[in-house]
């Protein structure tokens, strides 16, 4: 492994945009679509996932010399499942209603490809503090993406935001947005926005590089 200078802040920032788990890497789509019907659910799910990401990243990174290569996947799964169980009970202790709203999707954090992917590809090769920053960045990126989808669905689907009524009584809610198909549509809308911004950026980058190239010659 090439020892390049890794800056914790960079590891944090990259999860927000350049490597955003949901919009760019398309990881962890199941919970992103399933529990994003209200903003508050999206936020809770994002927080739970972030916690598991950070703790799993930290543990894997601390134990990286202790775990032999052959047993690594099973060890990672075991560690992740442990933290998910903890989160499951913690949410139950905080609010039964929230636990009911999120349903089985808390337990399903275990099979979120994002977490195993980061543990395997990043945390197992980096120092603990960098792994934590990476997990935090990815987690926040995931939460923000979920929140974006959740806000669109809740505002259009129920006319509320975080449970607060936004519109006067005349607003006809787009019920389809709180239904499963609304999840797909909201995600598609954001994906279009992200793709559009990226394309513009690429074009701008090309132009500037061409300009600098001309200037150099």
């Amino acid at each position: 492994m090439a020892k390049k200078q890794v800056n914790p802040t960079d590891e944090f920032i990259k999860g927000l945009w350049r490597d955003n788990p949901v919009f760019i890497q398309m990881l962890g789509l199941c919970p992103a679509l399933a529990v994003s019907n209200t903003a508050i659910n999206a936020l809770a799910m994002g927080a739970a996932t972030t916690f598991v990401l950070v703790m799993a990243g930290l543990s894997v990174s601390l134990l990286k010399n202790f775990i032999p290569r052959e047993a690594r996947i099973v060890s990672y799964i075991c560690i992740i499942a442990t933290f998910v169980t903890c989160v499951d009970y913690a949410i139950m202790a905080i609010s039964i209603e929230l636990h009911r709203a999120l349903g089985a999707f808390i337990a399903l954090i275990v099979v979120n490809c994002l977490i195993l992917g980061r543990s395997e590809a990043f945390a197992s090769k980096n120092k603990p503090h960098i792994a934590v920053m990476d997990g935090l960045g990815m987690g926040v990126g995931f939460t923000v993406a979920l929140l974006f989808i959740g806000v669109v669905r809740e505002v259009l689907g129920s006319g509320t935001l975080f449970g607060v009524d936004l519109f006067a009584d005349g607003f006809q809610t787009w019920t389809v947005m709180v239904l499963p198909s609304g999840g797909f549509f909201a995600m598609a809308i954001w994906l279009l926005v992200v793709n559009w911004i990226r394309q513009r950026q690429e074009k701008a980058d090309k132009q500037t590089s061409e300009q600098t190239g001309e200037a150099a010659s």
Binding site: M1, L63, F66, I67, P68, R69, E70, A71, V74, S75, C78, I79, A81, T82, F83, T85, C86, Y89, A90, M92, A93, S95, I96, E97, R100, A121, G157, S158, T173, T175, V178, L179
Partner: protein, 229 residues
């Protein structure tokens, strides 16, 4: 990605595998058990609070409850352990029996619907309902929790028993919106036909199961003293 294996890597010995798996297992077990221990009291507390607020919603006069179940012979006994679909006898602050609160479940439009409803011994009628769990279509199926004329059904939904006390005198059914003529009929909701039908059949089924025993035994039932709050 094809990261080349570090050159100096030694083959993993059985001992190393064993050590790491047992170590991680122990670490995980410790963590899970301590979290479980740490949260179990609060979770039980939350559950109880959730239940009592739900019961208060369907039967406001209740101050304390006793969970009951039916034994093999069909008579009413205090429940030995928490059931999946429990039923409770509700007592007011003087310790007098005011009603029963019953959980029931049945198939709705999309998935199972679980409801909590209350039965008044005085009126011999169902006097309140609350949907605990449903995945019905928002805006349509969830009207059973919101629609005023549907909720008005539960001012006193007749659930009298027949003369032998063995079954409901009149089966509880849902009729089309605006066609309710009898006290045991549920005025349905147009646009949520299947869901309101489902509520009717859930109530009918659960009442046929519980009410004969409740009517026969509940008045003589001695609540265990320790459970009173």
């Amino acid at each position: 990605m094809n990261t080349p294996a570090p050159p100096q890597q030694k083959p993993t010995t059985v001992w190393q595998m064993y050590r790491s798996i047992v170590g991680i297992g122990a670490f995980c077990a410790l963590l899970i058990v301590s979290v479980y221990q740490g949260t179990s009291a609060r979770i039980a507390d939350n559950r109880a609070r959730f239940l009592s607020s739900a019961i208060e919603e369907v039967l406001p006069a209740v101050r304390s409850t006793v969970e009951v179940s039916l034994d093999e012979s069909g008579s009413l006994v205090a429940a030995a352990e928490a059931a999946d679909l429990p039923a409770y006898l509700g007592y007011d602050e003087n310790g007098d029996l005011v009603g029963a609160v019953i959980t029931a479940r049945g198939m709705g439009y999309a998935d199972n619907i679980t409801v909590l409803y209350s039965y008044s011994f005085e009126l011999q009628a169902i006097v309140g309902h609350k949907v605990l769990e449903s995945k019905e279509t928002p805006g349509l199926g969830d009207k059973v929790e919101l629609e005023p004329h549907f909720l008005a059904n539960f001012e006193a939904l007749d659930a009298r028993l027949n003369e032998d006390g063995t079954a409901l005198a009149n089966a509880i059914v849902t009729v089309k919106e605006g066609e309710k003529t009898e006290a045991w009929q549920l005025d349905g909701i147009t646009g949520a036909t299947i869901t309101s039908d489902a509520i009717g059949s859930i109530l009918n089924q659960a009442s046929s199961y519980w009410l004969p025993a409740l009517e026969r035994d509940a008045r003589d039932f001695q609540p265990p003293q320790s459970i009173e709050e």
